[in-house]
């Protein structure tokens, strides 16, 4: 939701703060300001509205919050419209009674529609809405101001007999304002005229659209069952400003004010007059809840003292009706604008929100009270296995449990089926792994493509399968070592360190690679019989890197008169090259030349995240091989 600061000030004439602090305050109040932009002489605050509050999609709702927070009045003038020149009742019908909460409509005749004035075009463009014509633009303006969508029909095209109905499979297609043909569902909520569907409730139609030749219009404003609106929007795959608002709980009692404001603006800007009596369909007036509130509770929930005076003042500013039940108990009736206030917790949030979350101290965490340890035993086991593998020089990888079908490995002793997902947008990865080996094989391929050599890594994660109609998952450990003999040795070592000596370990061959997989839930069952020790903390001094290209390997010969400790030499040259691009340094060969009486050390340096040319330059320089 974009808020043009000058428009906000029209509703809050007492607002003295500049846009930046107002944006910060709105963020604290729950309307996250993700940007403040200058657009010519205007400042636009962009708010991320995530609330369940429909009023927050309007200037009115946002201004109301600020009026409570700053304790300044909200300027809403009561509008009186001229009386209708004709005693004409609009022949509107509502057959979708369950889906309709309130509709207000009025006919205006003799209007002259024109392109919009600059102020209106500019205002809409700041909200990224294209200007269509004056009448349509005014409906959009009012939607932004009050958060209640409205719609105008050209009666020359639609006639007067509008019907709010669900499709009931009567119509198959509908052409929207922008000319898109939409396939209608069996239950799509429509506004029809004698010729068929004139509008969806979330988007107008092309056939009865307002244009510059329009001289008579029916202007309606309505609120519907939000679940129905949401279902329609989802099934038709249409996202509109109207739909976004109508999916929230809106205030039917705000409709008369918003509608009057729109009619006033149309009469002022397009001329003409009211030629029908007001159509108002509002069969079931909503009764606001009566919420009991213990005056101690806001303080209890916040953890700070909030006085009774503050509580009552905030509730009154919100236009709540308050009745004292006892000294400490209130009965609160929230205003119709705030459909989200239903429980005492909702009121408590309002009280704390306007008090300010920043008033709550940050240095008093929950007490360290010792409670029963409910940690499932598999978790310490996993931690221990990881620590042991790291000690043995293995790197941990984490990969995607959703895999490509060609990587699906079915464990020999598992009589189960793989699980396919139904609707993944990543259709190349449609199946959940049944074995961790699938992920390791994929990882191995990835590492190979980066020319990483001598790898040894592991992964612990869930594997998934279906047995008859039930779904199962368990933690599994997968290990890879470039030397299969060492792989087997290490796996046995791990199990013997954990306790179970009877758990079978065997090499699995998949995609020509050797792996080991251990079902950790089975390990846990065996560990239970033996002693379980506390896991020591694993030190992690080295860091993980995001490889952006292949590893580059270069050799260098260094001639020395004396024999030297190779490890010290590796460290010396590593330091010289620097860690920015050096991945690994080894001595691949030591040769003694008796004739020259010197030792030749052949270094093999591996460089990362650097291009060939730079790597070579660095290599030659640091090994002193430049001419």
């Amino acid at each position: 939701m974009k808020i043009v600061y000058s428009e906000l000030k029209k509703l809050l004439p007492g607002l003295k703060k500049t846009p930046r602090p107002v944006a910060d305050d709105l963020t604290l109040l729950g309307h996250f300001a993700d940007s403040i932009e200058k657009a010519g002489s205007e400042t636009v605050i962009s708010l991320e509205v995530r609330q369940n509050r429909g009023d927050c999609f309007s200037y009115y709702g946002i201004a109301k919050d600020l009026s409570v927070f700053y304790r300044i009045p909200l300027a809403i003038t009561k509008i009186n419209l001229p009386k209708s020149s004709q005693n004409y009742c609009l022949p509107i019908k509502v057959t979708a009674k369950k889906e309709t909460i309130r509709i207000i409509a009025l006919r205006l005749s003799g209007i002259k529609n024109t392109p919009s004035p600059d102020w209106l075009k500019k205002f809409l463009s700041l909200h990224e809405i294209n200007s269509i014509n004056l009448l349509v633009d005014l409906t959009n303006y009012i939607t932004l101001l009050y958060g209640i969508p409205c719609h105008a029909f050209d009666t020359a095209k639609s006639g007067q007999k509008l019907v709010w109905q669900t499709n009931q499979s009567n119509y198959k297609k509908f052409v929207t304002l922008d000319g898109t043909e939409v396939e209608l569902g069996k239950e799509t909520f429509l506004i029809t005229d004698q010729a068929g569907p004139a509008s969806l409730v979330i988007l107008g139609g092309k056939r009865a659209a307002i244009d510059l030749s329009t001289t008579e219009t029916i202007i309606e404003m309505a609120i519907y069952d939000r679940t129905k609106v949401r279902l329609d929007a989802k099934s038709l795959n249409i996202v509109t400003e109207a739909g976004i608002r109508l999916e929230k709980e809106l205030d039917p009692d705000l409709i008369p004010q918003a509608h009057r404001h729109l009619i006033q603006l149309v009469l002022k800007n397009c001329g003409g007059g009211i030629t029908s009596s007001l159509y108002d369909y509002y069969p079931k007036k909503e009764v606001p809840p009566k919420i009991g509130l213990d005056l101690k509770h806001p303080s209890d929930y916040a953890g700070i003292e909030i006085s009774n005076k503050e509580i009552i003042s905030t509730l009154k500013s919100l236009d709540c009706q308050i009745e004292a039940k006892t000294d400490n108990q209130l009965r609160v009736v929230p205003p119709s604008l705030r459909k989200d206030l239903k429980l005492k917790e909702d009121l408590i949030e309002e009280i704390i929100r306007f008090k300010g979350y920043d008033k709550i101290p940050v240095d008093q965490p929950i007490a360290k009270k010792k409670l029963t340890d409910i940690t499932p035993p598999i978790l310490p086991l996993i931690e221990k296995v990881k620590a042991e593998l790291v000690k043995l020089g293995y790197d941990e990888v984490r990969s995607w449990p959703l895999i490509q079908e060609k990587y699906l490995y079915r464990p020999e002793n598992l009589a189960a089926d793989p699980i396919l997902v139904q609707n993944s947008v990543n259709d190349r990865f449609p199946v959940l792994r049944m074995s961790i080996v699938s992920s390791l094989a994929f990882q191995k391929k990835q590492y190979q493509s980066y020319k990483l050599s001598d790898q040894q890594f592991f992964e612990i994660g869930k594997v998934f399968y279906r047995k008859k109609n039930s779904y199962s998952e368990h933690y599994s450990l997968g290990i890879y070592h470039h030397q299969p003999k060492k792989l087997l040795e290490d796996a046995k070592k791990i199990l013997s360190r954990l306790g179970p000596k009877d758990q079978e370990v065997k090499i699995i061959r998949f995609k020509g690679i050797s792996f080991i997989e251990i079902n950790l839930e089975q390990t846990l069952n065996r560990v239970k019989k033996t002693s379980r020790q506390e896991t020591k903390k694993t030190k992690n001094t080295s860091r993980a890197y995001e490889l952006t290209g292949q590893i580059i390997t270069l050799d260098a010969n260094i001639f020395l008169k004396d024999k030297q400790d190779p490890e010290k030499l590796i460290k010396k040259y590593s330091k010289k090259i620097g860690e920015k691009h050096l991945w690994q340094l080894i001595i691949s060969d030591i040769y003694y030349d008796p004739k020259k009486r010197e030792y030749k050390y052949t270094f093999r340096a591996r460089y990362f995240n650097v291009d060939d040319k730079t790597a070579k330059k660095l290599h030659l320089k640091k090994f002193g091989l430049t001419k």
Binding site: G30, I352, W400, K537
Partner: protein
């Protein structure tokens, strides 16, 4: 065989040469001496080469005769050098190649950055009495949404595009709050538990989006829980991870499963509030959400909200980890091109 004067003279000197060097080879004591002798006899500019060079100008017959003898002596001396007991040691110890295998520093193992971060946070929560908890990744609609106050067709479901196994009931969990729903149902209050884990969303995998990411969730249920307890925990966590100079911001935020709800922001650790690419100019990074557990969530789990109150929080770990490890592509975090330097250089 032609026995001319040249041949006789040269053979005599060759025999003398052989006897002299045979003696020398037998009496040699060190590998260095033997190697020196080998070069002196058999090297490119050694004695044998000298003999060969001397016959270059002679007749073909002379060359053949003396050459045959010279090769015989050369072979004898070569064998003698080879069979010297000391010679074997010399070859092994200081021959051409002194090491059969490459020499490298000890291979160091590494935990994944997400595990390291989870462990750090786990350790902090353990220190204030939290258990670490866990739950299934294949979930039901009931635990992932309904019990968390997100009924079917609730707009909040739009924020979490779900991957279904059997639509609409069986799915891959979209949030670790599903573990919260199970925890509330299973355990008897009071309890405190934290649970890291992967969650799934139906999103295309790109540089900045993934169908899999990681959350860290926590729950505490006791008699008197307040927002002060919750905010205090977060402050402790942020200080633990980033030091005491870090700035945090707590603001009202809507989540269906909590009331009151709050959002947790951290001043951007890259630009320190000035605004940068990481924080998209905001100066703050959204770290997650929290709040007092909604009474309906408690009721659905069979906990009386009049007797017990709880807080819950959820943090997104991936962005955090990516910033810490300077990872630009979210795909890197899970497999692919995340790698570890094999040695401590």
């Amino acid at each position: 065989m032609v026995k001319n004067s040249y041949f006789t003279i040269k053979m005599s000197s060759l025999n003398t040469f052989f006897r002299q060097y045979q003696k020398k080879i037998i009496s040699v004591k060190t590998s260095e001496e033997l190697e020196k002798l080998r070069v002196e006899i058999l090297g490119r500019k050694g004695k044998i080469s000298q003999f060969f060079s001397e016959i270059g100008s002679k007749s073909r017959q002379e060359k053949q005769s003396f050459g045959r003898e010279l090769n015989r002596v050369k072979k004898k001396l070569e064998n003698l050098i080879k069979t010297q007991p000391i010679k074997t040691v010399v070859k092994r110890k200081e021959g051409k190649k002194l090491k059969k295998e490459a020499i490298r520093l000890k291979k160091i193992g590494h935990l994944h950055p997400i595990t390291i971060t989870e462990n750090e946070i786990n350790s902090l929560f353990r220190s204030i009495g939290f258990s670490i908890y866990d739950g299934p990744e294949i979930e039901t609609d009931q635990y992932c949404f309904e019990r968390l106050n997100v009924p079917k067709n609730h707009p909040a479901r739009d924020l979490q595009d779900t991957i279904y196994i059997e639509e609409p009931e069986i799915l891959l969990r979209t949030q670790t709050s599903s573990v919260e729903a199970r925890l509330l149902e299973k355990e008897k209050p009071p309890f405190k538990a934290a649970f890291p884990g992967p969650v799934y969303r139906n999103e295309k995998v790109t540089k900045s989006n993934h169908f899999l990411f990681h959350q860290y969730q926590g729950v505490a249920v006791d008699r008197e829980i307040s927002l002060k307890d919750l905010i205090g925990v977060f402050n402790k966590l942020f200080n633990h991870l980033y030091g005491t100079r870090v700035k945090a911001r707590y603001r009202c935020k809507y989540y269906p499963e909590v009331e009151p709800g709050l959002g947790l922001d951290l001043q951007c650790f890259q630009c320190h509030g000035k605004g940068c690419q990481l924080c998209k100019g905001a100066g703050w990074l959204e770290m997650g959400g929290a709040g007092i557990i909604h009474p309906l969530v408690m009721k659905k789990a069979g906990i009386n909200p009049k007797r017990w109150r709880g807080f819950a929080f959820g943090l997104g770990l991936d962005r955090w980890v990516m910033a810490k490890y300077k990872i630009n592509d979210i795909r890197t975090l899970l497999g692919g091109n995340l790698a570890y330097k094999p040695n401590q250089l």
